[in-house]
Point group: C2
Chain length 148, copies 2
């Protein structure tokens, strides 16, 4: 499975960064994970930069954009979707915006707008949630026991 | 606002515990927060203990039980619900189970079964999410600016 995560800004809270790094390490055992962190700037600038990065990826790809107004999956559905995409040799891209969210232009380019929860979380927290869910999804695919 | 959180087990991951403590400190500026951590044991034992604790709270109360099969709120709805309960002088209780979830008996005693997401998270992560949402809810009530 090939995963590319495009995120805006650095995580400022060291404990949160540590948790994300831990999940990222665990994901790397089961998938090829690349993390692309772009500088936080004006929302339009960020969106332009994200679009450029996505367009440069020449692999056959599937783009998830994280947004509150997206569709929710449960963990089994999410894992099933990822498995299916990996079987189709797709590079799976996740885009997480900054504090100002993501522009309509970037959303238009998404294959799927994904919501992690109806609740609003900080974009930093969303990054942690996504990493945890990616690790969980890979564990489900590999039939590993991962506790609740 | 009077909040009581009943949780099962200690958080083992120090970074996660640090984040939770940080939110807990921030919540304490805007609410009276009490955290009751019960030992993790057999699920039935845990549920019995939780029920005992809840029954001992003689205040007028409202009990949320966190469970995947509950109902989701968005952050504004959640904040509105808490504000309403605080205005009614209710002690607001949240119950988060352990790795084996929560028994039907405890759920039966709930006034509201709350789901934070359709996705499954570890119960440790759920604790962090809840604390973040409580802080966010209090910020919304107090009209404070809290970033996404």
């Amino acid at each position: 499975m090939k995963l590319k995560l495009i995120c805006v800004g650095k995580i400022k809270e060291p404990s949160l960064q540590r948790l994300i790094t831990d999940y990222s390490d665990r994901i790397s055992y089961g998938a090829k994970l690349e993390m692309i962190e772009i500088k936080d700037s004006a929302p339009l600038e960020e969106s332009k930069k994200i679009t450029e990065i996505v367009e440069k990826i020449k692999d056959s790809k599937f783009v998830f954009v994280l947004s509150e107004d997206g569709k929710e999956f449960n963990s089994a559905e999410f894992s099933g979707k990822l498995k299916h995409l990996a079987n189709d040799q797709k590079t799976i891209i996740f885009i997480i915006g900054g504090p100002f969210g993501i522009s309509v232009d970037v959303k238009k380019k998404a294959d799927f707008i994904l919501s992690l929860s109806k609740m609003t979380f900080t974009h930093e927290m969303a990054r942690l949630f996504l990493f945890e869910q990616l690790y969980r999804a890979i564990s489900i695919i590999k039939n590993k026991n991962y506790h609740k």
